[in-house]
Point group: C2
Chain length 368, copies 2
């Protein structure tokens, strides 16, 4: 019986842990009280099995780590049902955190993984030995012309990937089609001038059919990457676009992923990669969000470590980063990283081009 | 300037609250540091405004309640972007909880709300003055024949709505098409025998296009209601199916909604109703999940209270309920409620029909 496994933290006492662990295994599969399942087929092919219960260790440690094996068939190899088995109902139980999951090759074979990943994005950008740079077009409310002006400026500064802010949807002040047309033209013109290729990555967001239309248009217009928010618009839809329509790399954005009870290294590190992200944006420690240094390290490791045939995906640390932190960031992550500095560049006002050039130069230097 | 508003709990000190509140308003719209936005258009039409800051009250109260007004245009009136503005990035900040949101009629006019709601479901079931009954087909792993047998049994017992367990996807042991065909036939046969109409509600889950195919097939086969998991498969896709394809009532299931930092009365009470749910399943207090009595009360109130042209939607309390609690549940919620008892019925083993009949009789009596 092939299985995949989930690791949960369960916050309970030693005398309750066995029944709580069994409770999770039942909840996530048969959703019946203990003792009710009689059918040997269900017992064998569906029921989750508690494999391991170990006390958490370390100072202030409480509760237990529980590994549950789920038969592969319970997932139906379906991108929605997989998440449902991992954490569907248990997400509602406040004593449980989903820490990690492990998938056999027979499961991952049904998922795309990154189609470009680190090697593919480097090839596209012809940038081999250094960390990459990324910034965001903002603010929401700016016109397509203003966003295209910024896009050209960042392209002239040599920033590798210029992405839409995740708040740029299809609002009246910068409709998707106009914005993408103008920004893509801007990076192409800048490339003509500078001889250096940079990528504009529009934000794909809305209902499933709106996202499909946006993606088709963006690819027609020649964009070389896109951004999506899998927790906001749904992992199953992300999976579908990646497997059916997407011809360019995709960055995953963590909007609405504040389900703090799913560990970020799993959610953003493993699951985003499994479902096809080529790079994953997440809040770096010390910025205006609150991931710890260990979380960032582990998240980046999950994105880059060997995983079957999946290429490595880029960590894209972000969230209140400053140009002054570039050296530290490159030391921390190494060169297989995209450094995303957005809002703080804009503080430069009229010196935005110079500040952007400084960002680029610092990253190139720090990677040397 | 028309606005919609969000209410956040922010866990910080009195001397930091003003800047944290402003930080949230900026984060959720322009995503720029204070002072950078110069453009008067953006200032006027996009930027979130802190309207109110009040200290939390009560014993053990800490932190503040902050109301932020967002210009309607920031949402683009888009079902994905609305959630993004409410809690996209801020969901990543552990000091912030999204407590509530209020929407003007010019926003709700772009959302379906319940198409059937309490009056429409009562009409369908011809059940006017009592609480309704609901149970779940399980376990995952049972064959279509076995599920159809259970479906017929529950229909004979007179349970109003017989829904798939939310773990029934399109697995090999009970493929969607076979299962729905068999179960729908079972309720129709039972209706012939008993002269009483009950509804089978299959679980619609998968990628956006798989869900569309499932829904088309289910409606062709004559099903009279369906269930979906908006947090698992995405609110924008839920919105799209409701507005474009769905001809029957839909129950929303809370799988993966353990984002404890979005208050359940908002997420399950208001947002599910706004996006079109006719009934919303959620864990009742005292079961195997952990909502408080106040949370359940408030959630039910949000589903049923007057809201523009939207009909009321059914609260569907569930999660480890027992037949013995029926009286208490009906007293607590009143008759405009669907009582969902799943797993605990199955404990009856060979007496499942009798136990189901007892469930039905108790609800009818308690509502009298």
């Amino acid at each position: 019986m092939e299985t995949f496994s989930a690791t949960y933290h369960i916050d309970t006492d030693a005398d309750a842990i066995e029944s709580r662990a069994l409770g999770v295994a039942l909840e996530q599969t048969v959703e019946l009280p203990p003792g009710v399942v009689q059918d040997p087929f269900v017992w064998e092919n569906v029921l989750g099995r508690v494999r391991e219960i170990t006390p958490e260790t370390g100072p202030d440690a409480r509760g237990f780590r529980v590994v549950v094996d789920y038969p592969l068939g319970a997932s139906g190899l379906d991108p929605a049902q997989l998440l449902n088995v991992l954490f569907g109902n248990t997400s509602l139980q406040p004593d449980v955190v989903l820490l990690d999951a492990d998938f056999p090759p027979s499961l991952t074979a049904h998922f795309p993984g990154p189609r470009f990943g680190i090697p593919g994005l480097r090839e596209l950008l012809q940038a081999w030995d250094r960390a990459l740079t990324c910034t965001a077009l903002k603010p929401m409310g700016a016109s397509p012309e203003e966003l295209a002006r910024l896009c050209r400026l960042f392209a002239q500064a040599g920033i590798d990937i210029i992405k839409d802010d995740h708040g740029l949807a299809d609002q009246t002040f910068a409709p998707f089609a106009e914005r993408v047309r103008a920004c893509q033209a801007a990076v192409e013109e800048a490339a003509q001038e500078t001889g250096r290729r940079v990528i504009y990555a529009p934000n794909i967001m809305g209902t499933p059919s709106a996202m499909r239309r946006q993606l088709e248009l963006a690819q027609e217009l020649g964009v070389q990457a896109v951004m999506m928010e899998p927790m906001l618009t749904g992992f199953p839809g992300f999976y579908e676009l990646v497997t059916e329509l997407l011809e360019v790399p995709v960055l995953a954005h963590p909007a609405l992923s504040g389900a703090v009870r799913m560990a970020p290294p799993l959610l953003l590190g493993k699951l985003c990669r499994l479902y096809g992200a080529d790079g994953v944006i997440y809040p770096h420690f010390g910025g205006r969000f609150a991931y710890s240094q260990e979380t960032c390290q582990e998240l980046a490791r999950n994105l880059r470590q060997p995983w079957g045939d999946f290429p490595a995906a880029f960590p894209v640390p972000a969230g209140g980063m400053q140009v002054e932190r570039v050296d530290e960031l490159v030391r921390f992550y190494g060169p297989d990283t995209i450094l995303l500095i957005g809002g703080s560049l804009y503080r430069a006002g009229d010196r935005l081009l110079e500040r952007s050039q400084e960002f680029v130069a610092r990253v190139h230097q720090a990677s040397a």
